[in-house]
């Protein structure tokens, strides 16, 4: 497949060279975070506390995996609907977030923040969870373990096919 190889974490030049509609093949580290983790990160920012991982230049994958079976690295882990995180995303982009992976449309405020700070939003196919799990080579919980599937996990990706939905 004709895809652009992307190595995470993203640098500004990589983001600048991407265009909506580009098909990419992503490798490298991402952090999973969805509704509850975003709420906690936003509360941390309000209180002036550090985020649970150094967000500058990093990529968040909007996902809450199903449990791994014995011997598996991770269970099915497709994207969740990104728009539910829109209320929190501009402040994370301002804090240094450079990439997002998810599904579905984003708000005007998120699109504006992506333009202003040079961030990019990748789409993966909603529901392709068992397929995407095969692209995860490592998985460790880094924060909010009490949230279960909603905990922040650091995933090492290899060969995740995505499409640039916005920047």
């Amino acid at each position: 497949m004709n895809a652009i190889d992307i190595a995470l974490p993203l640098c500004a030049q990589t983001v600048a060279a991407l265009n909506p509609g580009d098909i990419v093949r992503i490798g490298g580290p991402v952090y999973t975070a969805r509704d509850a983790a975003h709420r906690r990160m936003a509360e941390s920012l309000v209180r002036g506390e550090p985020l649970p991982f150094a967000i500058a230049g990093q990529t968040i994958y909007y996902a809450g995996p199903a449990p791994a079976r014995p011997g598996q690295i991770i269970g099915p882990c497709g994207p969740t609907t990104s728009a539910r995180m829109d209320a929190y995303t501009p402040q994370l982009i301002k804090a240094g977030l450079r990439g997002m992976i998810g599904k579905g449309e984003r708000s005007d405020a998120v699109r504006e923040a992506m333009r202003e700070y040079g961030a990019v939003y990748f789409g993966v196919v909603g529901g392709a969870a068992a397929l995407i799990a095969r692209c995860v080579k490592r998985c460790e919980i880094v924060a909010y373990e009490d949230l279960g599937t909603e905990a922040i996990r650091r995933l090492e990706l290899e060969g995740l096919i995505a499409i640039v939905l916005g920047k």
């Binding site: 269970g75 099915p76 449309e105 279960g148």
Partner: protein
């Protein structure tokens, strides 16, 4: 009087949930394969190829199709000439809940349910409770339809209490507009279940059940069949396409069910399900 053991209900519930979580219906698969033949643009084809490949992996490995293994919805019809006899877990409802928990643990499903919806939102940790809709019917059998429901698509569903004057056109506009507003969030290509008539809650229930109708089946009433065709054509002209990547296939089917309603009303409910369209049906 026929005796149905609670443990049989538990086992049926467990088996149906796992079947729905791991395997796609042959009707839906055929519709997705037909869509792949229609689509020409690379992003749409990529999305459909990944969806079909995902289904193959899930079925082969007996792993869930989607990480959102859903909130379990069970439609149960119990024959009035059958009697449910309790087992260790309890009676009728406890057996269904225990079957759902057994599926959760045995199938490595995701705990996707929170207890209080507004305040603590604490995860119940075992995906309980399942939502049960039970009816008493004739005969001595128990029939169950389970539908694990993910909320990417559930969140995009809508109901409107339309006035009777809205008529066919008002209903069609509301259906199409609901799919348009959903965009790529409900994991298209979707199946659109529509309820028309009844009361507020009945309308929503028949919309949900309509999503499970066989894709490719034709509504027995030609007027509703024509309305389904028209809505599907309009929905697929929206251009949202597979995964929202653009294309001709935003939905695989529009299924309408209807019920008698009040002289003052014409409720329309639209319940959207994703391309996995998870459901399974069985009997005791």
């Amino acid at each position: 009087m026929r005796i149905i053991r609670a443990n049989e209900i538990l086992e049926l519930t467990r088996r149906l949930i796992l079947d729905a979580e791991f395997n796609i219906g042959v009707d839906v698969r055929a519709a997705l394969e037909a869509a792949l033949k229609r689509e020409t643009a690379q992003p749409a084809r990529l999305a459909l190829e990944q969806i079909l490949e995902n289904q193959r992996i899930a079925s082969e490995e007996r792993t869930p199709l989607c990480q959102d293994t859903g909130m379990i919805v069970a439609f149960v019809e119990l024959g009035q000439d059958a009697r449910v006899e309790s087992d260790a877990e309890g009676g009728f409802e406890e057996a269904i809940q225990a079957g759902a928990r057994a599926a959760f643990y045995g199938g490595y499903l995701r705990a996707s349910v929170v207890d209080d919806p507004l305040f603590e939102r604490a995860n119940t940790r075992d995906n309980s409770p399942a939502v049960i809709h039970a009816r008493i019917v004739g005969g001595d059998r128990l029939r169950m339809l389970v539908m694990p429901k993910g909320f990417g698509s559930e969140n995009m569903s809508a109901i409107r209490m339309l006035p009777p004057s809205a008529g066919r056109e008002g209903a069609a506009d509301f259906i199409v507009d609901t799919v348009r507003r959903a965009g790529s969030k409900p994991c298209p290509p979707t199946i659109v279940g529509v309820g028309i008539g009844g009361t507020f809650e009945q309308c929503a229930l028949i919309a949900k059940k309509a999503t499970a109708r066989r894709v490719g089946s034709v509504h027995p009433d030609p007027r509703y069949a024509a309305l389904e065709d028209e809505c599907l054509a309009r929905v697929n002209a929206l251009g949202i396409g597979p995964a929202g990547y653009g294309g001709f296939t935003t939905s695989l089917a529009v299924h309408i069910d209807h019920a008698p309603t009040h002289i003052a009303g014409m409720p329309v409910a639209v319940n959207i399900v994703c391309h996995a369209s998870r459901h399974a049906e069985g009997y005791i």
